[in-house]
Symmetry: C2
Subunit: 375 residues, 2 copies
């Protein structure tokens, strides 16, 4: 593959081995070790947030946020997101209700959530900042104030997103993030939760260690969701290079957008108030599912791997307890988003080449389509 969809940056093994020797010297391998605490502090500083809890995955981050916020009721969420944002709750047996997406940003539409007229203070809105693009924060805040529900933002695509002067992780009752190896910042496997409230953080700290409090008594129903020292070491190593990684990825995303702006290829509309949209993905929105399928195949022929984010709507899996209102926008955009390669090793020439092939292939597909239709 000339241009794979993603190529994780190589780890700085020299630095990692130093941490490894430190860990081995201490023989403190997990259980809120010094490297986990160091990474927590450094990330809080880097992001400008408080009340960060590191956990073992982005999926468990959603579960821990939900439980620490004393949630018991229904989940209102988007059908267009990675499956984890539903299945984390499906695993717990929660009722999941889908609302529609906005036709510009493709994010969960607060207006559509509002159509569920029976939202109570027991319920939770789980909204993904899709492709790093912030949700309509103000409208969700209004809805929260009216219904007294809680809001969890899944910021797994949005690590570097800044909105109205703040990192996006500081919003909602809790924001969760995945630190999986394919993410902009990663710990190989891992995740985090940023809580608005220090009490919720304190509860979550017990929950990720079997519910133990500091006196070694069981105070909460908990599990093991601890990040190991080894994974924290990876995070510390990646963090050292993160500014450079983000800078390179921003440059690539900018180049994509400036080339695509001169074509009729559309991408998502960035939410008003966004300072930086995390350069996590480069989505393009195609005219139909068929067009996406044909384009993906022809790009692959050119040695360019793209990804269907997402293969289908979560509301169509029928695995989860719950329901969904009529979701016209979701149906309309289903199977139409394709994500382009985006990682630091891509050169400006690579991006130019990818965009050239994109235009060429899409034009060919559309002409073919036109010929078919007019015949």
């Amino acid at each position: 593959m000339k241009h794979p969809f993603y190529r994780p940056a190589a780890l700085n093994t020299t630095r990692l081995v130093q941490y490894l020797e430190e860990i081995n010297e201490r023989r403190w391998y997990t259980n809120n070790g010094p490297l986990v605490r160091q990474l927590t502090e450094k990330l809080e500083e880097y992001l400008g947030v408080k009340n960060l809890l590191l956990v073992s995955s982005g999926t468990v981050a959603l579960q821990v946020a939900y439980k620490a916020l004393h949630r018991k009721g229904r989940i209102y969420t988007t059908p267009l997101s990675f499956i984890a944002s539903s299945s984390a709750f499906g695993w717990l047996g929660s009722e999941i209700h889908y609302a529609d997406i906005d036709n510009q940003t493709l994010n969960l539409d607060p207006g559509s959530v509002r159509k569920y007229s029976d939202i109570t203070s027991d319920d939770t809105i789980v909204a993904t900042h899709l492709y790093g693009n912030p949700c309509d924060i103000k409208a969700f805040e209004n809805l929260k104030n009216e219904t007294h529900c809680k809001i969890i933002y899944d910021a797994s695509h949005a690590f570097a997103t800044r909105f109205q002067g703040k990192n996006i992780l500081s919003l909602g009752d809790a924001s969760t993030v995945s630190f999986h190896a394919t993410k902009l910042f990663h710990t190989i496997e891992g995740g985090g939760v940023v809580f608005a409230n220090a009490d919720d953080l304190a509860r979550a700290q017990k929950m990720i260690n079997f519910g133990f409090n500091k006196k070694n008594e069981i105070e909460e129903i908990g599990i093991n969701a601890k990040m190991s020292e080894l994974h924290a070491a990876v995070g510390l190593v990646v963090l050292e290079e993160l500014d450079s990684i983000i800078e390179k990825r921003c440059a690539i995303a900018d180049q994509y957008r400036s080339i695509l702006d001169q074509t009729d290829i559309t991408t998502t509309v960035i939410q008003e108030g966004t300072d930086i949209c995390s350069p996590s993905y480069m989505p393009i929105v195609l005219a139909s599912a068929k067009e996406r399928e044909l384009l993906q195949a022809s790009m692959l022929n050119d040695g360019i791997e793209t990804r269907n984010y997402f293969d289908s709507l979560q509301s169509t899996t029928e695995l989860f307890e719950g329901s969904h209102k009529v979701l016209p926008n979701s149906q309309r955009f289903n199977k139409r988003v394709l994500c382009l390669p985006l990682y630091p090793e891509l050169t400006p020439a690579d991006i130019t080449y990818i965009c050239d092939r994109l235009r060429f292939n899409l034009e060919a597909i559309r002409s073919e389509e036109q010929v078919c239709c007019t015949q």
Copy 2:
């Protein structure tokens, strides 16, 4: 501390760094990578088991076993175990019903479980092989045949236990194990499930990767419970030294037992049919909770750290949905078990010293007690 309760073996960093370079070369950091597959095969061979699935923790191993076995009903389990064997299910909102323990082995008593007369095929018995000592397998098998329930054994203490010619992990509908850093074999954080049935393994393989099947379709409600390549590398390194670790620990456990046999200090009775009891813990059973408390304090004064396994019965937490029958043995043995230091670096002289202090301190406590009672 002269003799801490546990000191994890130092990792062979030379070997670990070799694996690290391999991982970095491949840039394949997680998602069922080659090292996870290699560790799976090697562990299956080492243990003589089939259908092993590596996961991210021992707690999630219990959840995955439960879900992959299509469980929905009640859990019948022991109040005397590490909290995870209840809270893994409490996290899922399952109903947990406690039955009593056997007064010899301290394991879950099948006779007491049987007193729940409404066990159905939807229900699950979760039985821990406490301190590595096998449960009464035959009686549980009979109960399973009568009620058509399923049995999950929590073998987290019993990695090296062999029962009637086989590794204990091969028993039950599924056996789970923790590979936490404090365990005999470990991957820092990690766990495993051994399924009796290959179909259940296939379902679980999807479940630990968000429910995706090989065609990238969502087929199950899943989560992220994958072991990373880094944690698998630790497992491979530990496995290389495992025979030596087990040999040393067996020698220590044997020395403890042979010294204690000549005293009136009792330990648990090993289940009939046991070939090897995994040298994971060295429990002693004291006369009362008070005696345990005093002994632990006086041992600490001598620089010897012991552990209360367990601090209290799980049935007393009141956090879980469910109930418990009258549990006289559990009440009787509650807060009476103390575990002694057990790890390869302890020398025969250390064990002699620990046992000497144990006898001396216990004698002092008992004389004091006698004086008090006769006064």
